[in-house]
Point group: D2
Chain length 372, copies 4
């Protein structure tokens, strides 16, 4: 088994003095996860999530969600999870309601339509284009029912929201309660995309805990990929049986990992807890803290917010020359859409792994970039 | 970042004295892979396979395949890879030719049909139900073209084979050349599912090397999941441009890993080489050696072969009482279909990780089990 | 509104002395249907089957089937009907059981797979490859349930049979009862493709009436296209609610005729009755009588049957030189597969419109063709 | 063949004094079509459009379109045609650009998504929400190409427009030329839904003739259902080979009519011509004339236009009490969306079959309804 490998065969990733705020999936995983993967490496377990680690991870998640009967499933990535869940919930006469900016509508390369389903975009919150409102959902459902031609239209069959949203914003507990009530009234399930759920749970601005979410959503997922895992999303159905044969659907969607225990082990680590708080939330706190400091730094330099986000994605309006100078100084981040005439929106993202010193270094760079 | 985790939160996997031959995905990954993942854990790289590790892994694979222009893509699992490749190759009037026993026909929960494509099963090799023959493929294509109603039928649009096959057997180089010639003559692509390709390459019975495969197939994949990786399959298109926008198709199929470098790093390790042979093949040799010893042991105990396989899957005809005794002695393996009256087919699988001592221990257990 | 049209703009169809037995959709419609279409031409009715003719046709069909609560829907053609019904019945983890020769498996250009569904072919009746047996269905369901890997497989979700079959044969009432019992036991619906149902009902060999079929099948359709209508198939669900929102599914499948009344009017005519027997069955009798005479004529000339059919499709084994001479004499019919060495299978089809004199003329031609 | 049918079995459609302006598919077909169907009823022809009538209809259409090499195909209905054409043009990484109000986006029950394709809605003409603009299409294509995440998005793969539009409006020849140029520049096909094309061609406001359309569109269809046929749409591909195996795709979509000649015969009649103008256009003129008179009448009563349409659909803003009185007087038409507070939009549709006297009768009714 021992082998000697010429190191020259490996890529050398230029670290330079780059300070990266591009996304929350730039690093690997929380070190405890790597440790556990190494420790368990030569265990022999059966495949496809039938192992004891996976069973244990489910138990820990059920406990954290306060729903002892919940069904829990693990998938590898977010698009896969959205496509499989939506395919499992909708019948062929139905579509999924979502905001125009929703990830499923814009950035999943048609994965939902690949399953034969229409994404029905509806008017978002006038204050926040990444959020739906209970009123908007109710109005859409009513308009559909009232339309004499509705038999020729795709019926609202479920509601998709994300928390945090694509713009880092949060639903309040009250908003979630109202949306949930509308959905239950209409008899259609509410699905929460929680790709970044950890960053909601770790944000002081958040008042909807895991147990609230489990009470108000019919199905949701707890994102691992962006919150400390190598990869992995945990789908939770508080009421078992919501989607029969879900394992077969996951397989059909190419999402059933052969070595399913890799998912089990990672969520075992993430939902292990020390002081009554799972590692999943604790490790997310670093992202919230560094993001808050980032906002403070930018505001301190007279930079305006593009949107006000209480989580790990921060959006600013930067003068184009500042954008240029930051890039020249080795700071990487995303322009949010095309450059505008003089001031353009940008996104800075922190994560569980963002070194606080990177943020402070950015502060210094900004002194120069803005001063000039 | 440092955390203390109560170990009691983790599952304890019963190792006992179990000797497991259930499958080739029971362990984690080659230790070098885990090492590299740990070493590179805090590198910051862009997502979705745009990083330097992935680029480097592609370079190494192109070199090993002897096709410097090849396009290489990484996906997470086999079903996902099959579904995405087939979806990329077929137009809507076409289907994929395959053996009735093919994985895509039986064990992928309808993932091919989910893309709207028909699996057209054809007569397999009369000597080996898991193989297609050039004659069989040619006859199917001719029957279709000759049928006056063929405009109402699904046209043969590509050929799917696996190497090794579902039954561990191998195509000879001559057979692959004949099949390739039939496909090129008909103008339809040949796709090889190489989920276990490493075990073919490491088998002394194999005479088709990676460069032959790259020359004869229009597209194929090099399976990592079952051959030393945590997960991952490397799709190779020797002629670039075979499937335009394949990255978008992977995303659409939910197969684009956010932290794409995890795949790049694993294949960097697997295609690093020491003595002119990639680790991928060297680590597979253990499976071939232990499988050969296994066959020797069973034959030595007067057990008959169910099929004669030169790779890591071995099929025997075991008396039902021997099956029972082996299980009681802690040996795990798969029955191959339902129990028959007195003697039933079973499958034993070895892998890159199978300890030789497990095989020897099985030898002793078999002494007792058969003796009685 | 009056217009003069130059007749030279129309195609002149060569009638010659051709005697045609190619299929049962070579002519237009029963003259009463054309009359009623003309009579009702300037009525103004609402679209999509919401008109009084359609309502009335449904009433007549419910009455003929003896199921006053049945839901009845009209579609234009058979492939469309099969695809829509199967799409409506199956969930994504399920497939449809069918004979390998089934129309849905061979001659619908992948319309079932286009909906994402697998056609699971099973062993047909050893005596008749176009029929399923209750035992075969039960065995397939059991094999699936017993398979430890069944979560990775497409589950049997419904059964598809045709009556008459692709080969003109019929299920006995006893066979239908046995198949129905197996399906109900397994909790999966039984669907009968009745594209040629009229020819079953008009055959003296048939002992399963419309009321039996309505009692034993969960859904079936009464084919109009091949039995006297211009086009049209009537789907009957004896228990209402079997497929919710079926109208929307029909629309989604492109099968909702704008001028739905055209279907209503045709089935009004076909299910109007004179002496306790709907025109649908009475007009089919001509096909049965001419087919029986055809069989008598061929047998009288020493020709062997390829299969023994009691309905309007007749299959013979003709010496190749007789085939040639018949064609030269202006008789058209279908070879059933490729020509064999000296004697080849052929299909002759009669219909509601076949002139008895054509059959007698064939008798004379055969005298010469066989005599030589 | 002769039969006596009790007339009481037929539905009696209440004609009363109803004056119907609900839609353009309320009557049957142009009488010449019924005549030809009757005349040809006992011809025997081969199926699926392989007959001489169909061939002849194609010839007439090619001639009318001025493109002798065009491929022409006949389908039964509009949704089916849209779904089949779009499915034939798009690859899986692509979607279809359309106005939010487009029929394919709103009223086809998800038929496009059923084929796995996304309808990408774009900003319509600010003056007419049912039209696209060349600028809007170009901007969408540019935004897509400029987006760094475009590999994760559905690519613009074709453009869908309708002429006349959903609101009865028309593209000018100049607009079509501009749109066509943008599409050709981008290398994506332009598809025109001509469900009501006859009403454009018959409108004096229209300056784009069939030959222009054939020159500017890559594919379009000539709608029969709403313009004098019983049913039927003729798809024209000016450059042959645009969609290979289109017949098989039509079959796969359930749109291949067994008695294909019914479509051929109808279009033979519609494209027969007397004075250099096909019956198709001549019969449409009645709709244009009655619609123009309708507009005159409404304007004469002080009613405002909701939109100004030069074709057979007219949109008005009627006081709610006038709506009520018209309905009470036996006038039927469609409310266009929900009732508003005091004045609501309504749609009146004329057709090839609208009796001019119905319009004059409406004039009288309106005198009373508005006077009060």
């Amino acid at each position: 088994m021992e082998t000697t490998i010429k190191m020259s065969t490996f890529a050398t990733v230029k670290r330079m003095t780059m300070i990266c705020f591009d996304s929350d999936y730039m690093e690997g995983a929380h070190p405890r996860i790597l440790d556990r993967l190494a420790e368990s490496n030569f265990e022999q377990t059966t495949g496809y999530g039938t192992d004891a680690h996976t069973e244990n991870a489910k138990r820990l998640i059920r406990k954290a969600c306060g729903c002892p009967d919940a069904e829990v499933f693990f998938l590898v990535g977010g698009t896969q999870t959205n496509a499989t869940v939506i395919d499992g919930l909708l019948r062929h006469w139905q579509g999924v309601l979502a905001a125009p900016t929703a990830h499923i509508n814009v950035h999943e390369a048609g994965a939902i339509e690949a399953g034969g389903h229409k994404v029905i975009t509806i008017e978002p919150d006038p204050e926040d284009c990444s959020k739906l409102t209970a009123e908007g959902i109710a109005a859409t459902i009513k308009t559909f029912s009232d339309d004499p031609t509705c038999e020729h239209m795709v019926a609202p069959g479920m509601v998709y929201i994300s928390h945090p949203t694509e713009y880092g914003s949060l639903y309040t507990l009250g908003e979630l309660e109202a949306i949930s009530a509308v959905c239950r009234d209409a008899g259609i399930p509410l699905f929460m995309d929680g790709a970044r759920l950890g960053y909601a749970l770790a944000s002081p601005a958040n008042d909807a805990g895991l147990k609230d979410i489990a009470r108000l959503c019919d199905i949701f997922y707890i994102g691992g990929t962006k919150v400390g895992a190598l990869f992995g999303e945990a789908v939770v159905m508080p009421q078992p049986g919501l989607i029969p044969h879900f394992t077969t659907l996951i397989k059909r969607h190419g999402g059933l990992l052969a070595k399913g225990r890799l998912l089990g082990i990672q969520f075992e680590v993430l939902f292990s807890d020390d002081d009554g708080k799972p590692l999943y939330v604790r490790t997310a706190e670093n992202a919230i803290n560094t993001a808050a400091r980032l906002k403070e730094i930018f505001l301190g330099h007279g930079i305006e917010l593009y949107m006000d986000s209480p989580t790990n994605q921060q959006f600013f309006l930067l003068p184009n020359d500042v954008i240029k100078r930051l890039m020249e100084a080795g700071v990487s981040f995303e322009q949010w859409g095309p450059l505008r005439e003089s001031v353009s929106p940008v996104r800075f993202v922190t994560s569980w792994a963002t070194p606080p010193e990177s943020v402070e270094r950015l502060n210094e760079i900004l002194d120069d970039a803005v001063k000039i």
